[in-house]
């Protein structure tokens, strides 16, 4: 955690701040989703409360606080109340492992712009977010309702099915970078596209050195998988309204519902953050290495400390921009594609994406073998 009391305190505060950043992004995302859908469907959307309706979600949150407490009589009390709280944990723990910006050196202290630096970053994120199935299962069983149970089963079967394609597309990433650490991956994606092929150095100066150009198929598979993992349309079979009413959260309302929402949007943010880190250079600014960026700021300000701060700020802004772009895709896709049928969903996961992910692994391994040999 750190060497002395000051550093430990800063690290604890930083963890809470990252968590709160994730929580406060949810109202903005919901607003974006509602306004965006209204824009796509030629409506207005929420526009009364505050400028552009921005305060609408704050008003909703306050309303949620005063909703009536409610417990279905067939339910199991402990599981029913534990589920929404548990739903928060996996997304938060995973999100805190994603690097949000270049580490900041301040005097003798080093502050990371990320919750914690894990040297087995990918494995940790996968392991922690795998726990998300429990919140769904607890909610489904704790409500004591057939629809909830069926929705929970569907959701967890869907999540675990797409975890396979997700895990396999990450094998391609590990082959490419040769590390589990997310920071090292970002460091390898700096500058313009360049790689060595059988001893020849090849430089493509008009493209950034991003993973998406090495792993285009892996990118598509990963992108589709994170939609399924976060139960978003076109994969939101868990809450097919026509068949299951609302899936595993039929019996939930008020603030408990909001906690589930925060968990779901948290998963979206984890998925988008990983997508940006693996395939789009993470917090790195395209075409420029971080060292060159620092040099530019150094020449400009003539102050090493200020340049460090500026590098961190610029990379953080870059990461936020990439994250927002990915999140907008989630919204855009929701209002573009129709929902799958359940057998189509399972077929897509097991019979289409899994073989293609296997093909991606084999092709990547062969390419690296040829290029290095």
């Amino acid at each position: 955690m750190g060497k002395d009391v000051f550093e430990v305190t800063i690290n604890c505060i930083k963890l809470i701040v990252v968590f709160l950043m994730m929580v406060q992004a949810v109202p903005i995302l919901v607003w974006l989703e509602r306004r965006g859908s209204a824009f796509i469907q030629n409506r207005f959307g929420p526009n009364r409360v505050g400028p552009l309706g921005l305060v609408q979600l704050l008003a909703d949150a306050v309303k949620f606080l005063f909703k009536e407490e409610f417990f279905p009589e067939n339910g199991t009390k402990f599981l029913y109340y534990a589920a929404p709280v548990v739903a928060l944990v996996p997304a938060t723990l995973a999100y805190c492992a994603i690097p949000l910006g270049h580490p900041l050196q301040y005097g003798e202290y080093l502050f990371r712009l990320q919750g914690f630096d894990v040297n087995v970053g990918i494995v940790y994120v996968l392991g922690v977010s795998g726990l998300a199935a429990y919140a769904i299962l607890l909610a489904g069983f704790g409500s004591g309702n057939k629809y909830s149970l069926l929705g929970a089963l569907r959701a967890s079967a869907q999540i675990i099915s797409y975890e396979l394609a997700l895990g396999l597309s990450i094998v391609g990433i590990i082959l490419l970078y040769g590390t589990f650490n997310l920071n090292e991956m970002v460091a390898m994606q700096q500058g313009p596209l360049s790689f060595s092929f059988r001893g020849h150095e090849i430089l493509v100066s008009w493209l950034p050195n991003w993973g998406i150009f090495y792993q285009p198929l892996g990118f598509v598979l990963f992108f589709a998988s994170i939609f399924a993992e976060s139960n978003r349309l076109p994969f939101d079979l868990a809450e097919g309204e026509a068949e299951l009413v609302a899936g595993f959260h039929v019996e939930y309302g008020g603030f408990k519902m909001l906690l589930f929402f925060i968990g779901e949007y948290g998963h979206m943010m984890v998925g988008s953050g990983l997508l940006a880190t693996f395939y789009m250079g993470g917090y790195g600014i395209p075409y420029i290495t971080n060292q060159a960026l620092w040099q530019t700021f150094m020449d400009w300000t003539q102050d090493g400390q200020l340049a460090h701060i500026l590098v961190s700020a610029a990379t953080f802004a870059m990461f936020s921009f990439k994250l927002a772009l990915c999140l907008w895709f989630f919204v855009q896709v929701r209002w573009t594609l129709p929902r799958f049928r359940y057998d189509q969903l399972m077929d897509l996961g097991w019979k289409t994406m899994l073989p293609w992910a296997l093909f991606n692994v084999i092709a990547t391994a062969l390419f690296i073998f040829v290029a290095h040999g």
């Binding site: 949620f64 723990l93 270049h102 396979l164 057998d343 019979k351």
Partner: protein
């Protein structure tokens, strides 16, 4: 010449931070639920507390028929998940093996494993274990 510090200093896994954050999040969620339960109004009505059943009175919950496909999916998931986990250390050390001149060896060892993996997947598809209806 001054340098920008490198982005990575291998620091293991800060377990204390993870535990702290998990505890904080659990307390945060419980506190909000507690607050909501204190602030909310309460009016008792027996119908309100029945299970939601699209308007008709809830029936007995006995003998809910659940498709065996769900277990089968979960079991097959376990099997394939472990095979994928085995590929992680392989992918991690792949470049080192190539650099030490053992590229063909590591490729062949994973080739056999992948052959078994693909054979299993092919068999599952062929035996219609993955069909949903």
């Amino acid at each position: 010449m001054p340098q920008l510090i490198p982005a990575t200093i291998n620091s293991g896994l800060p377990l204390a931070g993870v535990l702290f954050l998990a505890t904080f999040v659990l307390l945060f969620g419980s506190f909000l639920l507690f607050l909501a339960s204190k602030l909310g109004t309460r009016k008792y009505d027996p119908v309100k507390y029945q299970s939601y059943e699209c308007g008709i009175p809830a029936q007995e919950k006995k003998d809910t028929k659940i498709s065996v496909k769900f277990y089968l999916t979960a079991i097959l998931f376990i099997v394939f998940d472990i095979e994928i986990i085995f590929m992680y250390p392989w992918a991690r050390t792949f470049k080192e093996f190539i650099d030490s001149g053992n590229g063909l060896y590591i490729l062949a060892s994973m080739g056999f494993f992948l052959f078994v993996f693909i054979f299993g997947l092919f068999w599952e598809v062929k035996s219609k274990a993955l069909e949903w209806d």
